[in-house]
Every structure is written in C-alpha cells, then in structure tokens.
C-alpha cells in the first residue's frame, strides 16, 4: 500500500449519519449538505477536537460523517446541530453511529452498493469517490481513513466483478429496454411507435431513445396531445384513424391508451408481420385494462409483454440481486478481516524498526570494543566476525518479531512473563 499508516488501528474509525432506512426524507433533506458546501463541511469536521481525518458523504439517500479519531471518545452527534444551527434533538433519534470494525464494514457495504435503496445501483460508488476527492482536496484525508476509503473502492470493484449484483434491470422501463435489445440487438435506428400519449409511455420512450432508438411515431385519441408529445421527441404525430395502416412500420410499439378494450388483435399482428416480411415486432402493453390481445404473443415473430410480465421480470431480477448480495457479503467479510489485519500489523512496524535499530547499535558497540583486543585482522576474519554477530542478533530477534506481527491481529492482554515466554517461544517446564 502506498499510503503511510501510523497511529491506532481500526479502533478509531467512526461513522455517524442517517440513511433511507433510519430517517424519513424530511429529516434527510434537512441534513443534506449540497455539493457546493461539501468542502467547507469537511473542513469543519476535521476541526472537531479529536478528529484526525474526516470525510462527508451526502446523497439523496444518506448523509454520513466518516472520521478517524485519535481517541475513542469523540462525539460527533452535535456536528449537524452546529453546522445547520438546529437543535440536535430534532434529528438525534434517526442517527446511527458505528465504530471500529462496524464502521469499516459499513463503508465497504455502502461503496459496494449493498446498503442502497436499490441494491446494486451503480451511482453510489461515484458519490463516494466524489466525497473522497473533496476530502483529499481540503487535506482531510492523510493516512488511515485515506487507506480505508481507497480500499472501499477496491472492495466495490471486486464485488462488481465477482458477482452479478448490478447487471440486471430492476425498473419496468429498463426491463423494456433490455427486452428490446434481446430482440433487436442494437436499438440504433429502430422505430418506436407510441400509441396513447400518457406519462408512462413518455418515460419508457425516453429510455428507449437514450439507448439509441431512432424514429418516433405518436398516435393519440386527442390529436393535439399527440402533436405535443411528438414535438418533444422530434417525432411524427399520426391520426388515430390511421393507426392500423401505419403500425407495421414500428419495431417497438408502446401501447398505453385509456381505452377499456383491446386495440391490437391477432389478425392485426399477422397482417403487420406480412407487411414487414416477418421482421419481429415488440409490443409493450402498459395499459390497464390491456390494449393488446395476449393471443398476439403466439404469432411467430411477435413478442407481447404486458405490465405484469414486465413486473415479473423486475421481481425476478431483484431476487437475483438479493442472492448475489449474499455472495457480496462474504466478499466484504473477508476484505474486512484483511483490512483490519493489515492495519494492525502496520501499527507494529515502528516497534519492529526501533527494536532492530536498537540491537544493531549494541552489536556495533560490542564489535568495536572487542576489535581493539584482537589486534590486526585479515579481511576474511573481519567478515567472519561481522557475519557471526549479525547471525546471532538475527536469530535472537526472529521469534519475537514473528510473535509481534501475529499478535497484532489478536489483541489480548497477558503478563510480562507470559509475553516473554511467548516471544522467545519458551515452553513451560
């Protein structure tokens, strides 16, 4: 690791905040810190006595303070109160506070999008990275917290590559796009036909366009509305009477009229397909009651998904994500162990170095002292004495150094006698 690590281990990490599970939106929006104020808030955080390093994460679903403290008793509960000049009691019941390993685990989970409202959504990692950049910018991240946050990026990446947690669509509109891609490959240049100009179809159409769909047709009972919507998409409005004459030009039909009856029947589909030389058609029926006869799905080359079908895909994808989340948790637990162990052993490095320096200076002094008595030595003899003394020191130090490194990972107390026995590997009589 390129970042120098000193001072205490995982014991001094602290996370304090609110998220979508602990606090209603009214509370979250009160505590939200806009991007433009993030740097200033981070600076204030590291000015709190006892706080060595700090970072502020503020998204629409969470506001969190991350800190590395130089003693275990720092209290950040009043921070929001001071910052926003509101009484602490207003938000205190919604706060959660995590320390030590819990804090490390929490950040790993947040960055890997396991703590998100929609598990596996990809934005959160970018938001953590932004917070990190801001905190680095104001010099609020230097050693331990810096190492923790950068590690959380690596953990998030590992989760993303080793599980499929973020790879399936979990909204109706994105499932529709996924299915369209399964049928047509690229959506580039595909024609989308909106039948009915409701909000839902507008949203789905936007999604399709953002994935490359080309020509847009709009047909609506009230032609003015069709004209209006077509204008926003740079598309073409078509009179509702001409629907059946023009529908064969569509690759994707988004149907959502308020009509209480079926608009497209099997025979329509068969005729469209004949006109299209059997090129496939995708009917997305988001109207309730349905506007597309389910029988149409039986025509070769026509695919009909109604709102329930789309929902079913959404829920099955969500269930997949839950399963993958379990695997992601295992990754996080193992990364947590690794990180804490590394922090612990990094802690003992200064001790090891000074112990080695101390013994080396003793060795030098002893060699110099005895040299005077030995008279003139050949270069070979000089080398032999040097090798001998170095060898003794190294062998004596070996057991204590090993013990020191392993003991750093299992913090418990023992008597000095026990410690020395263990250090030199002495067995009890």
């Amino acid at each position: 690791m390129s970042v120098p690590i000193h001072s205490a281990g995982a014991g001094r990490f602290l996370v304090l905040g609110v998220n979508h599970r602990t606090a209603p939106v009214q509370v979250r929006e009160q505590l939200a810190i806009p991007e433009s104020h993030l740097a200033e808030a981070t600076e204030q955080l590291v000015k709190v006595p006892g706080v060595d390093e700090g970072m502020v994460l503020s998204t629409c679903n969470r506001v969190e303070l991350l800190a590395c403290t130089n003693n275990g008793s720092v209290n950040l509960r009043d921070f929001f109160g001071h910052y926003f000049k509101t009484p602490t009691a207003q938000y205190e019941p919604y706060l959660y506070e995590l320390r030590e390993r819990e804090a490390v685990r929490h950040l790993f989970r947040v960055a890997a999008s396991l703590d998100s409202l929609v598990v596996g959504e990809p934005q959160i990692l970018g938001q953590v990275k932004e917070a990190y950049t801001v905190a680095r910018g104001v010099g609020a991240l230097r050693s331990n917290l810096n190492a923790l946050v950068t590690r959380s990026f690596a953990v998030a990446k590992r989760v993303r590559t080793e599980t499929t947690i973020g790879s399936s669509a979990v909204s109706v509109a994105s499932v529709a796009v996924d299915l369209a891609k399964k049928i047509f490959g690229s959506l580039q240049g595909r024609t989308v036909y909106l039948v009915g100009a409701g909000k839902m179809s507008e949203l789905a159409a936007r999604h399709l366009i953002s994935h490359g769909a080309g020509m847009i047709f709009v047909a609506n009972r009230t032609h003015e509305r069709a004209l209006q919507l077509a204008a926003t998409f740079d598309g073409k409005a078509i009179k509702f009477d001409e629907l059946y004459e023009t529908a064969d030009r569509a690759d994707i039909l988004l149907v959502s009229t308020g009509a209480p009856h079926v608009i497209f029947r099997r025979e329509h589909g068969e005729r469209f397909l004949q006109l299209r030389k059997n090129r496939p058609m995708f009917f997305i029926d988001i109207a309730v009651p349905r506007n597309v006869d389910p029988e149409l799905n039986k025509v070769d080359g026509i695919f009909v998904y109604d709102i329930d079908d789309l929902q079913a895909v959404v829920s099955s994808n969500l269930a997949d994500r839950q399963r993958e989340a379990a695997r992601a948790n295992e990754i996080i637990e193992s990364e947590l162990e690794r990180f804490v162990a590394q922090l612990g052993s990094a802690d003992v490095v200064p001790t090891i170095v000074s112990l080695q320096e101390h013994l080396e200076s003793i060795r030098q002094a002893e060699v110099d002292r005895v040299r005077g008595k030995l008279g003139k030595l050949t270069p070979d003899q000089e080398l032999a004495i040097d090798a001998l003394t170095r060898g003794i020191v190294k062998k004596v130090l070996h057991a204590p150094l090993t013990t020191l490194k392993t003991a750093a990972r299992e913090p418990f107390t023992m008597t000095i006698e026990e410690a020395i026995r263990r250090m030199f590997g002495l067995k009890r009589e």
Partner: protein
C-alpha cells in the same frame, strides 16, 4: 496422413467440447475465457496438419474419408471463428464444438480409412467439387445451428422468463443475421460444387450417375436449401418455419454424407 498436428488440434477442440457440455448441463458458462484461445490454437494446428498432408501427397484433394472429415472440421471452425470476429459470440459453438470434435476425432484417432485410389481424384474438377461442397456444408451447418439458437431464444422471450443462458446468447435479430448470411454464403458454393460434381459424374459414369443415392440425397438437400433461400428472400421466412426447413435440409445433407458408404461412385476406388 500425418497425425501429430491433427491430434494437437483435437486436444484444443476438446476444450470447446467441454465448454459446450458444461453450458448445456449446468446452464451457465464455465471457463469461457480459455475456450477461444484454445480454439484459435486448435485451428492453427489443424491448418498446419492440412498443409503438411497436402505437401506430402502432392495434391490438394483429400485422399481419404478421414482427410475429408478433417477438412470439413477445419472449414466449420474457420467459419465459426469468422462469426466470432464479427459478432463476438460463442453461442453457435454450443453445437458446432461437439460436431468439430467428432469429425476431428474420427479423422485423428479413428481407423484410418483406405486411401482413395481412383485416378479421378488427381483431376482439378474433383478438387473443385469437393472443396466447394465442403465449403457449402460448413456454411450450412452454421446456418442450421443459428436456426436452432433462434428457436431457443425466441422460446425464452415468448415464455417471458428469460433465463441466464438466453441472457448470454446474442439478440434474436443478430442470430437471424448470422444464420441468413451463412445461408447466402454457403448456398452458391453448394450449387457450384454440385454442378461440378454432376459434370464429372456425367462424363465418367454417364446418366446412371443420377441414380446414385448420394447424388439423389444431395439434390434433395440442395432443393430444400433453395426453398429456404427463396422463402426468406421473398417473404422473410424465419423462426420456426425456417428452422423446420433448415432441419429438413440438414438431415438430407447428413444423409448425403452418410451415403458415401453406400455410393459406389464416391468410394473412389478402382
């Protein structure tokens, strides 16, 4: 026929076979990462083996049934790799890898069939016939596999439960494009190859050549393929109807291949 390189190729194709079996059995992809390098390597070994045997025999035309199998396997893998370069999909391999492995296995490990002794094989026309027909076979095998994949993908979309395997397969239209292009590519080769074959047969065996079972089956397969191309061209037939025709054509072609063992003309002895 020198077998060392061919057997090396067989080992590489074994990786492909294992990949297919794992995908079919476990419904999820395993070691996809090493499959492609193994196949490329196999194709290179295979090519070396073909060149070696052509140099050794001083002729391009396969000199035995084993060599014909080997050449066909190579052409199929070459087509597969061409499709891979364009579409980056392993899916056709699901069916092609076992086929390629089987053909290579028969050529590399199976009993070495007697060499064709007929002096006919030394003539350019026969080479043209064999090369064109094999090219046609390879392209049409790819087209046939594409139609099976099409049905599978269509079924998964219609059932409204797109499974994990279907999720990794190419889009319906892409599969369709692969199939149609292979068809358009293979059909002229098949046609010209048959014409060349018929010309040779006519000049050597006279009209009776047309009563040979292999010739009849080949003509039947060709006719079905023509219907396939025609209906696709005019009415855009695809999906189930096209797949049914393609299966039928494939069976006829398979029959024509098997008929080698019954056709006096294609034993090329004496």
């Amino acid at each position: 026929m020198p077998l060392f390189w061919l057997r090396a190729a067989l080992i590489c194709y074994g990786v492909g076979l294992l990949y297919s079996l794992l995908v079919i059995a476990r419904r999820r992809e395993g070691f996809a990462r090493i499959t492609m390098p193994a196949l490329w390597l196999g194709a290179v070994f295979h090519f070396v083996s073909l060149v070696e045997s052509a140099v050794e025999l001083h002729q391009l035309t396969p000199a035995s049934a084993s060599e014909t199998e080997s050449l066909l396997a190579f052409l199929i893998i070459a087509f597969f790799l061409a499709v891979w370069i364009k579409y980056k999909t392993l899916s056709p391999g699901l069916f092609l890898f076992p086929l390629v492995f089987l053909l290579t296995f028969m050529a590399a490990v199976g009993p070495q069939s007697a060499e064709f002794s007929s002096p006919l094989l030394r003539r350019g026309w026969i080479f043209l016939h064999v090369a064109l027909v094999l090219l046609g076979y390879a392209a049409l095998a790819l087209s046939g596999v594409a139609s099976v994949l099409y049905l599978f993908q269509e079924q998964s979309l219609k059932s409204k439960r797109p499974g994990a395997l279907a999720g990794r397969m190419p889009a319906l239209e892409v599969i369709d494009e692969i199939g149609y292009r292979s068809l358009l590519f293979g059909f002229p080769f098949m046609t010209l190859g048959l014409i060349a074959g018929l010309a040779v047969a006519q000049s050597n065996f006279g009209v009776t050549a047309f009563l040979d079972p292999k010739v009849l089956l080949s003509l039947l397969a060709w006719a079905v393929y023509m219907v396939l191309v025609y209906t696709r061209w005019t009415a855009g037939w695809r999906g189930r109807r096209a797949a049914m025709l393609a299966t039928f054509a494939f069976l006829a072609a398979l029959g024509a291949w098997v008929a080698n063992y019954f056709s006096s003309m294609h034993r090329f002895v004496g």
